[in-house]
Symmetry: C2
Amino acid sequence: MQIEVCHSPAQYPLFHKPNHIVVVIDVLRATSAIVTAFYHGVTKMIPVASLEEAKRFQDLGFLAAAERHAQVVEGFDLGNSPFGYMNPKLKGKTIAITTSNGTQAITIAARAERMLMGSFLNLDALCDVVAEDGRNVIFLCAGWKNKFNLEDTLMAGAAATILQNKFAYTTACDSTIAAMHLYRTAESDLFAFLEQSSHRKRLSKLQLERDIHYCLTLNQCPIVPELDGRYIIKA
Amino acid sequence: MQIEVCHSPAQYPLFHKPNHIVVVIDVLRATSAIVTAFYHGVTKMIPVASLEEAKRFQDLGFLAAAERHAQVVEGFDLGNSPFGYMNPKLKGKTIAITTSNGTQAITIAARAERMLMGSFLNLDALCDVVAEDGRNVIFLCAGWKNKFNLEDTLMAGAAATILQNKFAYTTACDSTIAAMHLYRTAESDLFAFLEQSSHRKRLSKLQLERDIHYCLTLNQCPIVPELDGRYIIKA
């Protein structure tokens, strides 16, 4: 079984192949929030690309989450801070969600045969589900405005390392090799490693250090969200 | 002054800005061959995207170089092996050149205000010219079929490290930070580090190990080729 890492949704068309699993990664913070939501009892999420679509679901009586520029968009129930999704009132609920980068990545790879959501929070559980499935896997980093970002690449590197060491996956993909090297350099202190990264700086300015610490914690939420038609459900 | 690293020609439109220098990097082997050619006395090169254009220049009496699938295309005078450009008969000549990835990168970034050619062979000379110019710099990796590759990223990381340490350049770009980390991991033995990389494997199969060793040698050709209109000349 082969691993590939795609750094940006804009690059995904170069990677798309039939019969592969795609794992969407948006560590800061969309997939971390989604993983947290399901772990805390949310039943379904509906990823949408635009604010207008999210609004439409809200008008239909659903809860709707919307993040732009790292903040909750006015008029919506939630943003993409994982802490917002720990609320017991969300148990059993369906939430429509749109974020700057994460839901765009989900939308662009929707034609994948199977799509899972990955984050540091569900790292081991994710690798178990991937290995059990047995297909080749493409890690799709949400990135930042279609560019490479460090935290998503590190998460892809962490997962690739586990798949290689524990499940005998291999890779012929340079971006996967690079991601594994970067993770090896970073793993002893992910937070410090990301100190210079653009998105950590962006979030720190908004006093979201607590979110960052949480999103860089391994295996806090051992569940795997999966796209099922137009919904995200628990795999 | 700021540094950015763009992993692929397909990503370049996201990076393009007025008043930046672009450094095109195709370590294995286009920019290594171009740097070698100028160091050994070639006067001008004409980068062209297609075999047809290269053929047209050949028909006009120019020497023409063409590489596809890592090999010289039949009917052309040269490929992209740097050793082919050490021939004393090429002194003073103009050569049209088309390669799989390198000349495509040159073509896509032709609207840059200034474009230089980088490789490990001219690393220090390149950084001197960039720093003397003083504008922000974008390292454009030729990559492989519009995907990330390791060797071009390492070269960008090497140059970024020098610009940061010697000339006080800074970066807010995650791909630059990653490239510098990767270079730090690799620099003690670039050849060994690239053992698992896809392109080194590809070239090794074609018995091009000697080319790879040469292309990974630092500062063998202290000159900097530059795009001037439709020609490449010595900066």
